[in-house]
């Protein structure tokens, strides 16, 4: 009896979890769109959705770590601009493409660690610190590129064009690798536990023997690395970069994390929800396109989806509270 009750409880838990709700939502949107325009569920459309999802997905992975641990990085978009421009300039100057890519990743880690360290140094909210640093990164990118777009003229294509079995693009795989990495990190490692502990109560975490400041720098470094790889894949896909390349990505990423059900106040959430959040956001623009809706509506739907996700989260919390009495 007790066992079946527990089983039922677990089943109910999964069925009411944010990732599952999102999954159902994604399926529903796909079916509706496909009913109106049967070209939606085709390989090339899925391809387009997934390739958009790769960049956003990896960045959102990092944002998940930061949001759960109680931090925000709103300089991400500017970092993407700076990093892709740097990579492009290095490649155009004749540097080995792989080396240039890795240097770009290193630059992202550096920028991100600077963000984290400054917030510790000034004891200031990360949102404000990254507002400032983002502006600085943007300016550096503008100065470096003199405001011009950096085109690669067909170089550095190997990442985006590589396909497993001639079919499955390498980039999708990298998206999955990113998510699996963060999933395992959050579940099975000390670092993951630190993310949750610091997010729920940094003071308790500190007194329990966690070196909170060192951890903060670690979280920013992890996020920076993920952003760096996202930049590499994005540059390879679009073959051009400019200072504004990443504009708005920080908000999309945080949006995806929130849609995925992670608490904006920290301490709760997971990367599975973020994954579905990313897919949902990436689908919207393609779906709008295929439904022949005016593209101006795209951001309207972005906002709407985030609000719906917040409503679902609020409803669920209300139900839990009611259940407890």
């Amino acid at each position: 009896m007790a066992k079946t009750a527990e089983k039922n409880g677990r089943a109910a838990k999964i069925l009411t979890s944010q990732p599952f709700v999102l999954f159902v939502f994604i399926i529903a949107v796909s079916i509706i769109t496909n009913a109106i325009n049967p070209r939606f569920l085709t390989w090339s459309t899925i391809n387009s959705v997934m390739s958009q999802a790769t960049t956003l997905g990896l960045i959102a992975c990092g944002a998940t770590i930061l949001v759960i641990s109680g931090h925000f990085d709103i300089s991400v978009g500017r970092m993407v601009g700076l990093c892709t421009c740097t990579m492009a300039i290095l490649i155009n100057s004749g540097m080995n493409e792989v080396l240039a890519g890795l240097l770009g990743v290193g630059l992202c880690i550096l920028c991100s660690v600077i963000n984290g360290s400054l917030s510790i140094l000034f004891n200031a909210p990360t949102m404000i610190v990254t507002l400032a640093t983002g502006s600085i990164y943007y300016s550096i990118a503008l100065i470096m590129t003199k405001g011009y777009m950096q085109t690669l003229y067909g170089k550095f294509r190997f990442l985006a064009s590589f396909r497993f079995f001639g079919r499955i693009p390498f980039l999708y795989l990298m998206l999955l690798v990113g998510f699996v990495f963060v999933f395992l990190l959050l579940r099975h490692t000390r670092t993951g536990r630190e993310v949750y502990a610091i997010g729920t109560n940094a003071r308790s975490a500190y007194l329990s023997g966690i070196n909170v400041n060192l951890c903060r720098v670690k979280f920013f470094a992890l996020s920076g690395a993920l952003i760096g790889f996202a930049c590499m894949f994005m540059l390879s896909r679009v073959s051009a970069a400019q200072a504004t390349s990443g504009d708005g990505m920080e908000l999309e990423a945080i949006g995806a994390v929130v849609i995925g059900g992670s608490s904006i106040n920290g301490g709760k959430g997971g990367v599975v929800g973020t994954f579905f959040g990313v897919i949902l956001l990436s689908m919207i623009s393609t779906a709008i396109n295929m439904l022949h809706i005016n593209a101006f509506y795209e951001y309207f739907f972005y906002g709407l989806v985030i609000l719906i996700a917040l409503a679902i989260t609020a409803l669920r919390e209300y139900a839990v509270r009611k259940q407890r009495g």
């Binding site: 099975h188 000390r190 536990r193 502990a197 308790s204 975490a205 023997g209 301490g267």
Partner: protein, 494 residues
Amino acid sequence: MEHLLELKDISKSYSGVLVLSGVEVTLDAGEVLCLVGENGAGKSTLIKIVSGVVTPDTGTIRVMGNVCEKMTPRQAINLGIATIYQDIDLVDNLTVADNVFLGCEIRTRLGTVDRKKQEEQTGKLLDRLELHGISPDVLLEDLSTAQKQCVQIVKALRNEARILILDEPTASLGDEETRMLLRMVRELATKSGIGIIYISHYIEELFEIGDRMLILKDGRQVSVRNVKETTQDQVIRDMIGRDASSFYHREYFDPGKRVLRISHYANRRTVHDVSLEIRSGEVFGLGGLVGAGRSELVRMVYGVDRKESGKLLLDGVDITPKNPWDAIGRGIYMISEDRKGEGLLNLRSVRENIMVTHNERREFINLTKEAEAVNDLVDQFEIRLPGIEAEVTSLSGGNQQKAIIARCVADPGEIYIFDEPTKGVDVGAKEEIYGHILNLAKQDKFIIIISSDMPELLAMSDRIGVMREGVLAGIVETKDTGEEELMRMYLGLD
């Protein structure tokens, strides 16, 4: 004649724990009523009820004959009840007059603040209290603490307070200032006919200023005594009560041979050069009033709070920790008195809460092995829970505390510091926690325990170090010490 304030059968409990029950008292115009009791006796709850911050579960409050049900703080103020809390809540960068009229400024016809009129009226009030040293137009930050207290009283008078509640007004004042404040309060009562409720730890002060005393113990009203007809001894006896015999009986055993030396610990403000020695296997109690520097001392020992000086020596070897993880690495654990703010990972599972310290030892966590370890600890500490994945805040206070103790023994430790380990814990769980603490002592560990509950401290400790105003006032063997004697040491009498 009608009473200014009349309380009848006032009771209040928080999540099943009774903090106040059956309080009946009156306050007349021109009278000073003192509230007396140990830490946690219910004094603060009582004044919060009178000032409308807390609604009592049962009982009636009458203010000047009118029954006040579900009083809000605003209503209380309108009824003429002014509360002055220990911490000064005035704005430092406004002038005295602006502070006094904050929230109900006098307006000119144009709707701007009429500074002139405000300063004039403030000046009158200051004159009435014979506070000639304070000018209405100076900034508050330029005043001394005592003067700020006076401004708070002026502010209360501006609201035409009939009842004035003063919560430890002299806690941060020097001798001279205290005397000035006491004189002023006394005059307010006799000359202006204001009823005053006065709280202070300093018993002598109460005898100087009070007309009557309401003595509370564990939320119950022990007695109401006329100051003129009672003695300090009688009041102290009332404060500690007489039911110590029903308390926990611990098992005594011989302490071990190792020695932990806390050597010359000090910070600038709250702890002044404290040194003491503890034997292994001994339960060492730290007693004293709130603010005596007990928690501050152990927090320095654990490496959380900054210290000016101090070394921790185990058998002569320096083991002074620099920070909590350094402390834990050396086998030192501290359980903070602030369970919610500094102990629990509130949103996380019991499992994560218990293993958080242990998990700092390696990067990869084997979930199966971890679950086994957690289940073992849950059994060992008899933590009652729906499952180890349950959110820690869904547990009762006692089980939360047991989970935190379990966290500290997940790895072998040497030194355990318990700061108010049974705060907010029900009686049954208290005894279990005592058992676990003694168990650690039996394993030849060093135990330091802080408790504001005197019977608990006496029952648990082998020796008690009494702290007073940041210094170690003395160390007593619990076997030949009674509560009365201990209370006298806390208060610094004879």
